[in-house]
Every structure is written in C-alpha cells, then in structure tokens.
C-alpha cells in the first residue's frame, strides 16, 4: 500500500502549445494563449476571450492521423496521452505493453466534463427541427466514456479504461484513481489526466452564471472579474516502482499525496471558509506526511472568479498562516480548461520539480495575498523545490488536491 507511484511521462496540449515543450516555453516567456475565439462558432467570439488550442478540427485530425467525424475532445485527449506514453518510453509488441523487458498492465483513466458535446451541439438544431434529422455520427461520441474509448482504441490500451467526471476536479481525480490502482496492485501503468474542448454549451453555461471575464482574467488579483474558459488536455504516465526500474531511466518525481473531499456548501459556489479545499489540501499533506512548511509551491486552482479565489486563499491562509509557500495560477495562460486543468497543471507541476523553476501567474496588479514575494509573477529559477501542491476544485463541491514530490 505504501509503494511509490512515479511519473514516467508527460503530455499536454493547450492554448499555449501543442506539446509539453511549447507549453513550457510559453510559461517561461510569459506568453498567454488567451484571446478572441477563432475556432468555435459562437456569437460571443469577440466578447469573451478564451484559451483555444491553436488548430482547427481539420488540422487536429491531420495531426492525429484520423479520418471521419471526431470530437475535438477526443483529438486533444489522444494527442496529449500519446505524447505522455511516448515520453515514458513504453512500447507495444502486438497487444502487449512493455517497459524494457517487463510486460505491464496499462490502463487509461481519463476525465472530461463535455465529452462529445462539441459535436452534439452541432447536431441539435437539425434534430430539434425534425427528430429524424441530424447525422447520427454527430451524436455517437456524446457520452464522456465514448471519448476515452476512442482514445484507448487509438492508443492500443485495453486492460482497463474509465472516465471520471467531477466537473473541474475531474482530471485531478483521474490521477488520484490511477495512483490508487497502482498502489493496490491492479495496474502497473496508468495514463491519467483529462481533456475538454471548448463548446458553446459550456461557454453559454458559464455566461449564465455571470462568472466570465470580458477582459483577460486576473486570478488572485483583488480586482479580478471572472474567468476565461480554455480547452486542452494533460496526461501523466504513472508507473509502479517495478516498471520504473524496468524503464531504465532515472525517474525523479512521485505522486506523494492526494485527497478528494466535498465542500457540501452549494452546487456551484465554494464555501467562504473553503471547507472542501481546506480538507483536500490537509488530506493530501497528511498522506504525504508533510508539514505546511514542507510545501514549496502551490499551483492554484485560481480561476479568477471572486468566489473561488477568495475561498481558496482563505483555505490556504488557514493552513499556512503567514508562512505562505510561493504560488501562482497558470490559468492566466491557458484559461480554465475545466476537466483538463488538473492534468495540464500536473504536467506543469512535474516540470517545475524537474527543472527547479516556478511558472508565473500573469496580470496581477494588487495581489489577494499581499505578503511580498508569495505570488510568483515572473518566471523564476528556484532551488530546493521538493514538494508541489496542485489544487483542482469544481462544481458539486468536488475538491481535490495532489502533491508531487522529488525523490
């Protein structure tokens, strides 16, 4: 039960890059990916900035090597998961996955909140006009599970597949589930993370909640106005210590703590005192046997809404007092990628540990946490970063925190 779970590979696609390297370059150079909506058809294209992946569906299909009708969610997920698998150095002989000379049981645990809604919402106008109209291939990927299934078939993973949908904490829960399945000896390798494409459904939904910023978002700024939506996918390849040894390369990062808790306050709003986020952070630290002073950096959930940032900063204050670790919200680059954010931010957290550096949160004028030097606002080389806490909180009170540590 106490066996270590290592991170062996990373994959990401977002508004700031189509792979991990492009994402990291943009983070280092403070280049955000937010702007007018150019790929999704919506009347809000020039009203609400968003973080779109800079490729049309046709271009994404060409990169995937896919033909036919494909949900953007599946394509984004496939590209990030494939990059992570390749990065890990796992190879497939026939239907068997190998780490060096060792056979391994490989699972795919993905997460999504929209599934194939990007296609369904194009199907619906015809269908509403006539229930026999609308092409069925436009709705066959509607289910969240259909997206993961499509990814799994393309990746060659069949041992175990599942999908988690707990709103904005989905991919953090996918990583947690993956780590637990490895610890329990059910799988040797799990490709874990999440994917969400921008859709009119979510854009309009968030607009009804009046939490979208018509300017570029300013997470953890006192003058923040709301969030910008984003899209993308992020996956990590989690491996058991046996597979880590068999891969024959030095793996330095482990998933040392995780906790899933519920705020139980409101369907969409977080409690003022941050009960759920407090419990999740505390639980993850307890599992990792870490004290608050051991946490070197927090990748915040930091959406930029009044409610989240206030609740999250209160919970952080309750845990850390005045001894804040450094922190930032990379959603100021990518927008809020919903079910994908925990996966994308796990990738950023892992690179922070690997390269001993901290990525900034952009556009902070008056920081919510006033103590100087706490909010990382420019790219920093850092030393001695050993433990990174990553937060993901969502609708339905679902709060999850992950801790990644250097071994």
């Amino acid at each position: 039960m106490s066996a270590a779970v290592y991170i062996a590979g990373l994959g990401a696609i977002s508004a700031i890059g189509n792979n991990v390297q492009e994402n990291i370059s943009a983070l280092k150079e403070s280049r955000a990916g937010l702007g007018p909506i150019r790929y999704l058809q919506t009347r809000y294209a020039d009203i609400f900035p968003a973080g779109e992946v800079k490729a049309s569906n046709e271009e994404l299909a060409a990169i995937c090597g896919w033909t036919g009708t494909n949900s953007r969610t599946a394509m984004l997920g496939y590209l990030a998961a494939k990059e992570a698998l390749q990065d890990a150095g796992l190879v497939q002989h026939g239907t068997t996955w190998m780490a060096g000379e060792e056979n391994c049981k490989v699972g795919l645990i993905s997460a999504t909140s929209v599934g194939g809604m990007d296609l369904t919402e194009d199907f619906f106008p015809d269908f509403l006009a006539n229930p026999h109209a609308g092409k069925l291939r436009m709705v066959s990927q509607h289910e969240c599970g259909a997206i993961t299934e499509k990814m799994a078939l393309a990746l060659g993973i069949s041992e175990f597949i599942t999908t988690i949908s707990t709103a904005c904490s989905s991919s953090a829960n996918a990583i947690m589930m993956g780590a637990r399945m490895i610890r329990n000896g059910m799988l040797d390798v799990v490709v874990a993370g999440g994917t969400d494409a921008l859709s009119r459904f979510t854009l309009n939904g968030f607009n009804t909640l009046m939490i979208l910023d018509s300017q570029l978002c300013q997470p953890f700024d006192k003058g923040r106005r709301g969030l910008n939506l984003g899209e993308g996918a992020g996956f990590v390849v989690l491996v058991s210590s046996r597979v880590a040894a068999a891969l024959g390369k030095e793996l330095k990062i482990v998933v040392s703590g995780y906790c899933n808790a519920n705020d139980a306050h409101h369907q969409t709003a977080s409690s003022p005192e941050g009960i759920g986020s407090f419990t999740a952070m505390k639980g993850a630290m307890k599992m990792a046997a870490l004290q608050p002073s051991d946490i070197d950096y927090i990748n915040l959930h930091g959406t930029g809404t009044q409610n989240n940032d206030s609740s999250e900063s209160t919970a952080i204050q309750r845990i850390f007092g005045d001894a804040y670790p450094k922190m930032s919200s990379t959603k100021s680059f990518t927008g809020h990628t919903l079910a994908a954010c925990g996966g994308i931010e796990a990738v950023y957290s892992a690179v922070s540990l690997q390269e001993q550096c901290l990525f900034p949160g952009l556009r902070i004028e008056v920081p919510v946490i006033e103590k100087p030097g706490v909010m990382v606002q420019t790219f920093e080389k850092a030393e001695g970063i050993r433990h990174v806490l990553s937060n993901s909180f969502g609708f339905g009170g679902n709060c999850s925190s992950l801790i990644f540590s250097l071994v």
């Binding site: 026999h132 599970g145 299934e149 707990t166 009119r200 939904g205 009804t208 909640l209 705020d263 139980a264």
Partner: protein, 334 residues
C-alpha cells in the same frame, strides 16, 4: 465487500417493496419509465421540485440506502452514470439553439453536470467525504464498485455509498432508438444505491466476491477471467446457482454472450434482468440490486426462471455489449 443495504427505483415496484420478487411485471411497452415513489418522507418537497428525475431518483435511493443502514455520514459517495443528467442537458441545449445563445438561465446548466447526483447527496447530508463520479458507458457502475472496493481496502471499517443512475428522456429515446438500441428490449432507466462495507452488518444482503471489467478482450481472455474469478473464490462453474444476465434471450446466440452463457455456464439457470428494468447503460446496478434481493429472500422473481435451485448461494451477474464491454460480478449469500 458486503452489501449492507440497497435501494432501487426502476420500472418495477422496487422501492421499499420487498414483495416485488413475487409479482414482477413484464415490460410490454417499447419505452418504459421508472415507477417513482412519493418522495415526501425522503426529500424535502421544496427541494424535490427543483430536481430533475435522475437527481431525485438518485438522491432518494441514496438516502433510502443510508436510512436502512442507519448511516448519516458515509465515508465515501461513489456514483456511476453513463449519460449523466440528460433532462437538464436537453433543456439547456434546446434553449441555447432556439434563443441563439441569448436569454439563458443557469438552473439547467448547473444541474447538467455529470456529478450532480453525488454532489446533491453530499450537499443534503453535509458530507465532506470522498466523492467521485464514473462515466464509462456500461462500466460506469462497475468502475464505481471497483473504487468502493479499493476504498474499503484503504479504509477498513468504512461505510461507502455506491450506486448508479441513468434517465431516459424524450430526446435520448428518440436518438437512441435511431441507433437501434431498443430493437430487442424496452428502453429503460433506473437509479440504485447501496451501502457497502468490509464487514457484514446485521441484515446484510449479500457479499460481492469480485468485480471484473473487460474492454475488447482478446481471444480467451473472457474465459480466463471467469476461471480466475471462480478460482479466487474456490468455486467451480457448477457452483453458480443462477446467472443474472444483462443480455437478452435472443442475444445468447451472439458469440460474445454465447461463450459465457452457453458454454462456460451452460448448466446454470438464467434470468435476463433487462426484461424487468429495460435497456440502459447502468442496468447492471439494477442487476446487482436484484441479485442481492434474490439471495436475501432466497426467492427468484416469479415467472422468470423455473429451474433455479431451492438454495441459492452464488450468483454471477454478467453483461456484454456490442461495443466490447464485458463485466462479471460474483455475488454470494451472506
């Protein structure tokens, strides 16, 4: 793990009706809906009005299972749903299309997220525990059970609320019918939650002795998995007293089902549970609830199986679908 309490809302009189097994009603209509109980003593009336069907059915079965188990604060709430909250999704989509993205209200959107049932249970209970929602087609419930089992191994003595819910709406019926999903069986729906624990409580219904999921299994894998599941429990195929099949009588001719039903477990009596609950992706949760009720009452639903033995000890709940998802769940008398 043990099923210490269970509750189901289905097209049958299943909710708090232990006599249901004596008079199940065969489904004749092409489309069937759940028989919803009066919710008044389970959920506050003003809350019920705001809930879509899947939410109130899910919440009611969850609360009922908790009440039966005498539990007010479970250590985990785990939910499976393949389709999620379709009614609210459809409402928001329709308005978005008709109003061309203007003049929309948040209620349907807020309640459309897949984790709404589990979230509402947490909210009503003020339960800050682990809360997760699995959305993997016909494996959504099985994945939830796997998570529950793992949670119990990590937290011995914990009380876990685990279940599944899926609803049928006018839109989903219309679309799924075009896919040919209801050719052999009535369209169905249902909600079912159970309290599970690592130890049996007084009045426990049954013990879950294994859950296996397979996706696109290679040749031989299905047989190996069944053999392993039986061997893990020291059983032989002949020890399975009853198969609760999620397939349909005609389906058994298809290779994917025939392997289990006509070869490996040819001599075991079978019940096709979708004849009672209809076709929907988390119907295996109804199958599990039915199996637990059968073991507890030592009674096979009237008219569905004439060859069941008098003493029922081990049941196998099996399903396969045309997309390559198989699941095997072994249920044993307490």
């Amino acid at each position: 793990m043990y099923i210490n309490a269970a509750s189901a809302i289905s097209p049958q009189q299943s909710f708090r009706q232990p006599a249901f097994l004596q008079e199940p009603v065969p489904l004749h209509a092409h489309r069937t809906s759940c028989l919803e109980p009066a919710y008044g003593d389970i959920i506050e009336p003003k809350l019920i009005r705001r809930m879509s069907r899947i939410i109130r059915m899910g919440v009611a079965t969850g609360m009922d299972a908790l009440q039966q188990a005498g539990c007010t604060n479970p250590d985990a709430i785990i939910t499976g749903t393949a389709y999620g909250c379709l009614e609210d999704t459809g409402i928001f989509l329709k308005r978005m299309v008709e109003n061309q993205e203007e003049m929309l209200t948040p209620t349907a959107f807020i309640q459309s997220t897949h984790n709404t049932v589990g979230a509402q249970l947490a909210l009503l209970l003020k339960c800050h525990s682990y809360n997760n929602t699995f959305v993997q087609r016909t494996h959504s419930f099985e994945c939830s059970l796997l998570d529950a089992d793992m949670f119990l191994q990590e937290n011995p003595g914990a009380a876990v609320l685990v279940g599944a819910a899926d609803e049928l709406t006018d839109y989903s019926f219309s679309i799924l019918e075009r896919f040919g999903l209801f050719r052999a069986c009535a369209a169905g729906e249902g909600a079912c939650y159970m309290m599970v624990g690592s130890e049996p409580a007084a009045g426990a219904l049954a013990r879950i002795n294994g859950v296996r999921t397979l996706f696109n299994p290679a040749a031989g894998k299905l047989e190996d998995t069944l053999a392993e599941l039986l061997a893990d429990n020291g059983l032989f195929a002949g020890d399975i007293d009853l198969v609760l099949s999620g397939n349909l009588p005609g389906d058994a001719a298809e290779p994917r089902c025939a392997m289990i039903e006509n070869q490996l477990l040819a001599s075991s009596p079978k019940i096709y549970y979708k004849l009672l609950c209809g076709e929907y992706p988390t119907a295996s949760a109804f199958g599990m609830w039915l199996g637990a009720s059968v073991l507890k009452q030592q009674l096979v639903p009237a008219g569905l199986c004439e060859t069941a033995p008098a003493l029922l000890r081990h049941l196998l709940i099996y399903q396969a679908d045309s997309l390559g998802y198989h699941s095997l769940m072994l249920l044993t008398k307490c």
